[in-house]
């Protein structure tokens, strides 16, 4: 009956009208809903009005349009694809009360990745502070794999939403960071599908945890994150909490309150709540005496890494590592140094101002440290020229562009909508993307030019003052950004130099400049001002202080008969200490005022410095009642027959090179002063100790030591040393400590050494490349040789009697063992956690079934051990225990009877 009315067209009119109205209402409803959700989850301060509704409705339409117009994914790709299969109810649960619901619970899923192949269970949740990570359809995900399950050696990792307009800045920045040696998370683009539906282009990002450290060949240690201001308000609470994290100056309290550094990883389970390292870090930053800071900075900070880290920020103009957030810090427990982790290097810009954190301030106000920093910056600037970076950007763009075109959820943060306190994400067209990539290259082009200009900033002039007819004072004024290399003797005409004396004058001190002294470096200074005209946002990013060039003056006194008549006022010359370009120093009547200069005067160091004996020779009997320290610049030679008698818990620390060469008949001995009291440790630590050579030494009766936040677990410790040699040594009878000899982060050789009667492990090596040969181990309390994440060749070694394993090879080690005897061990060789061992010609005398074990122990590794090789005497296949995910590559013919060993010519160590 109703259909009849259609004859008149009324039905279709109503239908069309209804469709139009439904469509309109639907759009309006979705825009309105989106606005309400955004206000609730991300912007509680938002006002409902027509303008806001207009914005959100348009955004909704643009996002729908983008979905419909996204192209197909390219068939060929180099990107890995992450397929996540999840229960829809779990997604609903995560989104029930954003943002808290998204981050406080992990949900179960199944994960499949094509490259490298992975399939298995994974827990997931949303991650990230800003709304872009969890509010929109494309989510940033945190994935957590079960114990013994890893993807690219990581148990937890992130798949993050690109969070800058330029999209690829993080990728390119991380690649640069890695190439210059900074500790850098893995970061690369990836496709993500959730329940077979594309979730767009993401980036894989490592989680900064113990796995990250192990993967980067670092000892497990503390990782701290310094993020403050958003902590209180990110999850929807009021802005009042912000004040908790600020100082009286309204700046972030991150640099004065160690509690604001969140501990994300620890050395071990026992040290999870130990915060001594971060307290030390904050105390050093707040050191009021610049010389004390300098000493601590040089001892406890990996200076070069910090300089590279800051240099990279300055190179690309990133202001993201600011006064209040985005700092990641690692403390290496065996190097004893803080190291920055490259994290969130984004927002490349042409702007000159880069935030100066209180740590950087200490460096900037020390001209010597500042120069070291700038030198490294200069090298970076030369290496990463415009073409280099343009090529990197183009290469990244060529990968990203087709993927992005197929991404239905492309978006960009915009700071141009002032309604929002934090950047609002808006849809991103491919034209805008193309512009953004071009802009990025232009930004770097300008930035590189600006940075280059700064290296030419040198100003120098001087005055002459005749104090008496026999004394002339020359004062040099150095200003600008870079120091000069200057020969002070160039003030005096060459033919007069024999007849006069030249002095440096600083305050009331004078120091002779010796004839023939080379160029000295004269540094400019820095003045610090308080800027009262900064907005709250600027203060939170930059702090309240501003820094500008300011002069430093250097006074020389020339003394000699009638010298005032002889010194002319010609222009002097010097060299820019960074670029080596010539600098002309003109005479002026008065110098610029230096009273506002806040920098340390470098000559203070010159006059404060105690004379250091750089070459030290030790001999005879040396009683050690107090700890002994030898600095980096000291080379210590210990003569044969020297005996160190160490008191209870006393230790000797060598931070420079050690040459201890005893003889067979006159060894060098380290022994107890009192028979009943163990001494501490002998420590050889640091790159300056490289090429140390110890021969014919006897180390007996020691224990452990601790200094500068480093625990030394052995009675002899070699840490962070290249090319050491230890030979013809006897190491025995230690007590208390885990190891008799501990080697970490070192390269070198141990030859013809004997290890006896050790309390626990005899030789413990972590992250080393060391050969061990012709050595003997007997009566060992625990393992004879314990290796972690190391490369080693062990040959002609005899082990007889251990409380545990003869050889314990774990955590991604790669070791060759050959021509050795393993006798009377609880277990002959343990190969664990992704380690690989090649054996050749090994004679076993162990209990049946206890020769070799391959297994997984540490849940951060997905695979067990692998072994291959030949000529294993005294065991059969039954003596090899192959655990889950481990592989025994030994062929049947590799197992030989013990009797055969005696017949094989040249085999074994006997």
């Amino acid at each position: 009956m109703t259909l009849k009315y259609s004859k008149g067209g009324s039905y279709w009119s109503v239908l069309i009208a209804m469709l139009l109205l439904t469509g309109t209402c639907s759009i309006l409803f979705n825009g309105f809903s989106w606005m309400m959700l955004y206000k609730k989850a991300a912007a509680p301060y938002l006002h409902y009005n027509l303008d806001t509704l207009h914005l959100f409705t348009n955004e909704y339409i643009a996002r729908q349009y983008q979905k419909f117009t996204a192209s197909s994914l390219p068939e060929q790709t180099t990107l890995p694809t992450f397929d996540l299969f999840v229960d829809e109810k779990d997604i609903e649960s995560l989104e029930r009360d954003l943002p808290s619901s998204a981050k406080r619970q992990f949900k179960q899923s199944h994960l499949k990745v094509d490259n490298p192949p992975f399939t298995g269970e994974a827990q997931f949740r949303y991650r990230g502070g800003l709304a872009l990570h969890w509010l929109y359809e494309k989510k940033s995900l945190r994935l957590k794999l079960p114990p013994f399950s890893t993807y690219r050696n990581e148990r937890q990792f992130n798949l993050v939403n690109p969070s800058t307009l330029h999209t690829i800045t993080d990728w390119v920045s991380y690649d640069i960071a890695r190439s210059i040696g900074l500790l850098t998370p893995d970061y690369f683009p990836a496709r993500v599908f959730i329940n077979n539906e594309t979730n767009g282009l993401h980036f894989f990002l490592s989680k900064l945890d113990e796995s990250f450290l192990r993967k980067n060949n670092r000892m497990p240690g503390s990782i701290y994150s310094g993020d403050t201001v958003f902590i209180s308000n990110l999850f929807g609470s009021s802005l009042e909490g912000e004040k908790v994290f600020k100082t009286e100056n309204n700046t972030s309290a991150l640099w004065v309150d160690e509690r604001l550094w969140q501990k994300d990883a620890a050395r071990n389970a026992e040290s999870t709540s130990d915060r001594e390292d971060i307290k030390t870090f904050v105390n050093i930053i707040n050191e009021s005496d610049p010389l004390s800071f300098m000493r601590s900075f040089e001892t406890l900070f990996d200076k070069e890494k910090f300089y590279l880290f800051w240099g990279l920020d300055r190179l690309v103009g990133s202001y993201h590592h600011d006064y209040f957030h985005n700092h990641r810090l690692y403390f290496d427990p065996y190097k004893g140094k803080f190291e920055p982790i490259a994290w969130d290097i984004r927002y490349w810009s042409v702007q000159v101002r880069i935030p100066v954190t209180p740590l950087m301030k200490q460096v900037v106000l020390n001209p010597i440290l500042k120069y070291e920093r700038d030198q490294i910056m200069y090298r970076l600037w030369q290496r990463f020229n415009v073409k280099h970076i343009t090529d990197m950007v183009d290469k990244a763009d060529s990968v990203i562009r087709p993927e992005f075109a197929a991404d239905p959820y492309r978006q960009q943060p915009t700071a141009d909508i002032s309604t929002f306190i934090l950047d609002k994400m808006m849809p991103l067209s491919m034209d805008e993307y193309a512009d953004a990539i071009n802009d990025l290259k232009q930004i770097y082009n300008i930035r590189h030019g600006l940075v280059g200009q700064s290296f030419n900033s040198v100003f120098a002039n001087y005055t002459i003052e005749n104090r008496t007819s026999d004394q002339v004072q020359i004062t040099l004024n150095i200003n600008g950004l870079n120091p000069i290399d200057f020969n002070p003797w160039s003030i005096i005409p060459e033919h007069l130099r024999e007849d006069v004396k030249l002095f440096r004058i600083y305050e009331d001190n004078e120091q002779a400049v010796l004839i023939g002294e080379q160029n000295e470096r004269l540094y400019p200074g820095i003045a610090v001002d308080i800027d009262d005209k900064l907005s709250r946002k600027d203060i939170s990013v930059y702090g309240k202080e501003t820094y500008k060039q300011s002069p430093l003056h250097y006074r020389y006194m020339i003394k000699g008969k009638g010298v005032s008549e002889l010194i002319s006022d010609n222009a002097l010359t010097a060299k820019n200490a960074i670029t080596s370009t010539p600098v002309v120093i003109n005479k002026v009547d008065t110098l610029a005022d230096a009273s506002n200069t806040a920098s340390l005067h470098p000559w203070q160091l010159l006059f404060d410095k105690q004379a250091v004996n750089k070459d030290i020779e030790l001999s005879g009997e040396i009683i050690v009642n107090d700890d002994l320290f030898f600095s980096e610049e000291q080379t210590v030679t210990i003569l044969a027959d020297t005996v160190f008698k160490l008191s209870k818990d006393r230790s000797i620390f060598f931070y420079g090179k050690v040459i201890a060469e005893g003889t067979e008949t006159s060894p060098i001995k380290f022994e107890r002063k009192e028979a009943e009291h163990a001494w501490g440790s002998i420590v050889i630590h640091g790159k300056a100790a490289s090429n140390s050579h110890l021969s014919h030494i006897h180390v007996k009766g020691g224990s452990v030591a601790r200094r500068n936040l480093v625990d030394y677990p052995g009675q002899l410790n070699i840490h962070d040393v290249d090319s050491f040699q230890l030979e013809h040594c006897l190491i025995s009878d230690n007590t208390v400590g885990d190891d008799a000899l501990h080697v970490a982060y070192s390269h070198g050789a141990i030859r013809d050494c004997e290890f006896n009667n050790t309390a626990f492990d005899a030789l413990d090596m972590d992250i080393v490349d060391v050969t061990v040969s012709d050595s003997r181990f007997s009566n060992i309390g625990n393992d004879a040789i314990d290796l972690m994440n190391s490369r080693s060749v062990i040959s002609h070694v005899k082990i007889n009697g251990t409380g545990d394993k003869c050889l314990s090879i774990g955590e991604a080690s790669n070791v060759t063992v050959e021509q050795s005897q393993l006798t009377d061990c609880v277990l002959g060789i343990a190969v664990k956690d992704q380690s690989w061992v090649h054996v050749n010609d090994i004679r076993f005398s162990v209990e049946e079934g206890s020769a070799i074990a391959l297994y997984r122990k540490n849940p951060r590794y997905s695979r067990g051990g692998e072994i291959e090789g030949e000529r294993l005497y005294g065991i059969t296949e039954r003596d090899v225990d192959v655990g889950d995910y481990s592989t025994n590559h030994l062929k049947q013919g590799a197992y030989l009877p013990l009797t055969k060993h005696l017949n094989d010519a040249g085999a074994g160590v006997e």
Binding site: M18, T57, I61, D416, S418, S535
Partner: protein
Amino acid sequence: MMFSRERFNFGHVFLVVSILLCSSFAYWLYQDSDVDQYRKFARIYKRMILYVQYDEAKELHAEVLAKIIDAEKLDEAWLPFVKTIPEKKIRVDLYARILADNPNREDTYEQLAFIIDDVFPEEGHIVEKNDYLNKLKTIPEINHALLDKHNLIIN
């Protein structure tokens, strides 16, 4: 028949009204809001600066300023733009108009406080300054606590 005609009329009227409503809605959506206008300006202006087209950028800036300078109320979307105006006198005037649009936005008070003493120095401009501050006080729903916090009151 008559019933049918009624339906016919109703259907077409309904359709016409729907089209009008939808068109109005589409037109409203299509129109650039202040936010859209500022975003367009900011994008072009930033790129002009980046590519060293300073004259063109200056021209564009002046053009936009001319467009907004006479508005009685100024949408808060223009706040970042106002901050870039070199003439501080014009800025304080525009800040007052932005406050009229949104009297609860602290950024506006803060930015105003930074420059007010430059525009009305103590010597010789006390009366002018007081007039200005009095004018602020009369803005409907002005936030007196924020005025007080940023020292935008007559001492």
